[in-house]
């Protein structure tokens, strides 16, 4: 019995380990306000955060909100969205703004500050991580499909 149960536990453990990344389960939580959509796919989300669009389909200007470099979310966000280090993400935005391709993103050290800013800024989209423990308002949640 011991062996069978051990084997089952191993299969479940390995299965979860393999399937979770495939399904694109992420620790990221997205918040937005008046984006003309409540869900979007991963490719569009990355394009938005990489300054490849200036406007949402409803004509609202895109305002990107990111965790500040000292925030607990910063490293995870930099890796998952940009595939870069925090410093490289800062360099990326400095360069993009200097080129005139996009307006500056807003950086926040606390989730509450980011959420409050998004609430009063139509077209704003922000990202934090679940592990921070902050509960984002339901009206702001944006679902990201793989």
């Amino acid at each position: 019995m011991g062996f069978k149960r051990w084997w089952l536990v191993m299969v479940i453990f390995l299965g979860v380990g393999i399937v979770t990344p495939i399904l694109g389960q992420s620790d990221l939580v997205f918040m937005g306000n008046d984006l003309s959509m409540t869900e979007m796919n991963t490719a569009l989300m990355k394009d938005v955060f990489k300054a490849r669009y200036a406007l949402w389909p409803n004509g609202k200007s895109i305002t990107v909100c990111l965790p500040g470099s000292k925030s607990v979310h910063a490293e995870k966000v930099a890796q998952e969205i940009y595939g870069k280090s925090i410093q490289d993400v800062q360099k990326f935005w400095l360069s993009v703004v200097f080129q005139g391709k996009a307006k500056s993103p807003h950086f926040f050290d606390s989730e509450k500050e980011m959420s409050d800013f998004i609430a009063k800024t139509p077209g704003a989209i922000g990202v934090i991580t679940k592990s921070g423990g902050f509960t984002a308002p339901k009206s702001q949640l944006i679902k990201i499909n793989p």
Partner: protein
Amino acid sequence: MKTYCKRLLLLFLLSFVIGEDVVFAQTRSTQFSMYGHIQNHFDDFTNEPKSYFSLGEQDFFVTSNITERISFLGETVVRYDANTSSKFAPSLERAQIKYDYRPNHSVVVGKMHTPVNYWNDVYHHGRLFFPTIDRPHSFSYMVPLHTMGVRLQGQNIGSLKFGYDAVVGNGIASTDISDPNLNKAVTLAMRIEPTDNLQIRFSYFNDFLRTNTAGAHSGHGGALASTYKGALNFELWSNSIAYFGEGWEFLNEFSYNRNKTQWKGYANNFSNFTYLGVRVKENQTLYYLTDVMKVAENDLHTVGGEILKFALGYKYEFSYLYKVKIQVERLGTITHDHAHHDAQDRYDIKIQFAYGF
């Protein structure tokens, strides 16, 4: 009663002003930044050594979101100018208004950097962004740095992330306030981004100059030296390949310039700049560059000749806002034949402190 009415009116006007400010505060934001560099040179250390410090361009950068879709970008550089008493003078490098009419399409009006290649469109005057200490040599001879005009641009189209730029504006002979030519300079550029870190660009630039003069902002210092002042048709084809990844970096800027005059026919000039960097640590890069340029002997637009530069460099980033580059370079000519017997190779060492905030 009269005083009461006055107070009421004042209160009304005040509330209007404050109210308007609150409305605009949600969309309008203005940001000021500054970029600059300081250099230390140790020139020609094998022949006639010279050592000196040098204050580089000080770049004042401003952006403002005027409305939801309209934004302004300005870049004013203060730099060395031998013609002024203080030896420094301001220069308006960019002043442009952008209107986003679709999510990834926009129109820009004003003075801009001509999007003929990756370097000119991405780095502008910010030494902090330069991968090396100096720009390619061709920027002083054949790359039209600025255009004052109108630009249609788009990006992120299709799976290859196609982008385009179409610019019509004052040409090489123009100043910021006028152009002696009736016809305008035209730039057509396209690019693709097959992966996140890779960008490939092609462009074509054409300008017919009634008189071969170079405006202050064309960047063609070589053209200022040319004694030919007749008509000239200037064409430039460019190709850029830029890859900036986690481990290594690569940039190749190729330019082919063809100038036609009735007197000398077609003159074919070319240049190629290659940069290869390896990030030995996240904030440290070792790099190598080759910069080669050849201006044909029958060219009348510029006085260039040929240049061949090799350099080895090291870049250390204290933060994303402050970096130091050290570069050892050899400057010479492509050929060492009888015609170039006077040209001696020279070796320089440069240290650049570049910052932004």
